[in-house]
Amino acid sequence: MAYNTNRYFPECVLYEVFSWLPPKFVGRFTIVNKSSYEFIKSPAFISTHLSRCVDDRRDYALLMPDPWLGRYWYEPCKVLCNWNVEYQVEWPAKFDFFSRPIGSFNGIVCFTNNHVRCCGRVLYLWNPILEKFKCIKSTSFNILYDSGYRFQYNVGFWYDNINDDYKLLRILQVFSILDVKQCQVEIFSLKARSWKRLSDVEVPPLFVKSDIPLVADGRINCPLQDFQISLCYRGVLALVVVPRDVLTDWSVWVMTQFGVAETWQEIIVRTRERPLYVKFAKKENIIFECNDSRLAVCNIEKRQTRYLEDVSRDGLWVDYHETISFLGDEDEVLE
């Protein structure tokens, strides 16, 4: 096609056009000219692009190989769109082999190593399409425990949209044979690149008041090991509480206003199935894996559950969508 060679397009035109492209094309068009290369890497462009890909209403998921299902670590991850495989992503060799996904925000998948003894100790934030990652090995915990004690990490990941920051919550509990011995809670801010320890927690009442009112004092009265932090429901902080007592309904707690402890709301889910592994999907759906390893979708607002009969669960999965988050960043290991 012959184009008008007198026409001049200011940079803002290319900026706007590129902001509507899928990540792969954005990356490719960095070689159009120097100014495109510069603006594509700018935080302003990355966030404009992000606001546009969030509009995509399809359900995406990333399926990671699960060693417990006989899958090998070197198998690629699969990207599913509406539960059909779209393409595959190679698992970077520098990552731990046995990994468990925690959650995903803005196209960034958070996962941890899955070794029994250190699960939750090392955390990764990964943008699979860009092959960019940040590895977090640091901690603020100072619990000393004897080798005879059992310990457990709980980790949550979310995006704090008020401060434009990615955050992690980690809870470490040390158990003696009979009881929980010690418990510490810390919050990581990617902007600050460090963990901040919350005032020490008494157990079992769940969380104490802190300057970051994550969970209201005494509002959730269940022992720690019974909930899964699976943080995000319609873009707000949420967690799933599954009482050990099988006769009690499980519920989803949603913090409707970020950082305001008084806005925690409980949504009780009545299903026969107990969730083993819960993830939030788009809109008002959550997806969970039942004891019999079938997948089910529960509409929280309508409180209806249906099984995903034709979806074979052959890996560890996490909700996901393609973005250019971390595009301007270098790979990092925070120790």
């Binding site: 184009y3 008008n4 026409r7 397009f9 509507w20 899928p22 070689i31 000219n33 495109s36 290369y37």
Partner: protein
């Protein structure tokens, strides 16, 4: 001092295109062109506004677009019906030759019409997905200012996109 007759009668403005054609537009249409709104507010819109960057062919299209949007938004229809109507209109409106689309985009930028600018850019984005880099450069009339070595370095930096 403005008399009462002036208040009730519809204000019209005259827009002059690059090739000298004069278009008469109502205020509701004219204010959608951010550039012109500023001129109106500054009372610099008389006797007519010269638009040096837009040809009559493109200006006619732009006015058609603004007219439709002004009418749909001011009409008594409910918001959802108006939304649907605008979507259909926009889709049909974008069904034009690539060169016209580029002209429209450039005009929307120059005249500062946000919705039309976004619409044309979105359409262009879906067009360039299957174009080569060289074609995209030609389309937007930009020069490759990378040296061979520099381009190689960028390709390496964004290796994931060129797989």
């Amino acid at each position: 001092m403005s008399s009462s007759t002036e208040l009730t009668e519809k204000k019209v403005f005259l827009l002059k295109s690059l090739d000298g054609v004069i278009f008469e537009v109502e205020e509701s249409v004219a204010v959608q062109l951010e550039v012109i709104r500023e001129l109106i507010e500054g009372d610099c819109a008389r006797p007519f506004i010269s638009l040096y960057n837009v040809t009559s062919e493109i200006l006619a299209l732009v006015i058609e677009y603004c007219k439709h949007h002004a009418e749909t938004c001011s009409g008594g229809t409910s918001a959802t019906i108006a939304d649907e109507d605008l979507k259909t209109f926009d889709n049909e409106f974008m069904n034009v030759d690539e060169n016209i689309l580029l002209e429209l985009c450039s005009a929307a930028d120059y005249l500062d019409i946000k919705s039309l600018f976004e619409l044309t850019c979105r359409t262009l984005a879906s067009l360039i997905k299957d174009r080569t880099i060289i074609e995209v450069r030609k389309m937007f009339n930009v020069e490759n200012d990378f040296s061979v070595v520099e381009e190689k370095a960028v390709r390496k930096e964004f290796a994931w996109a060129f797989k």
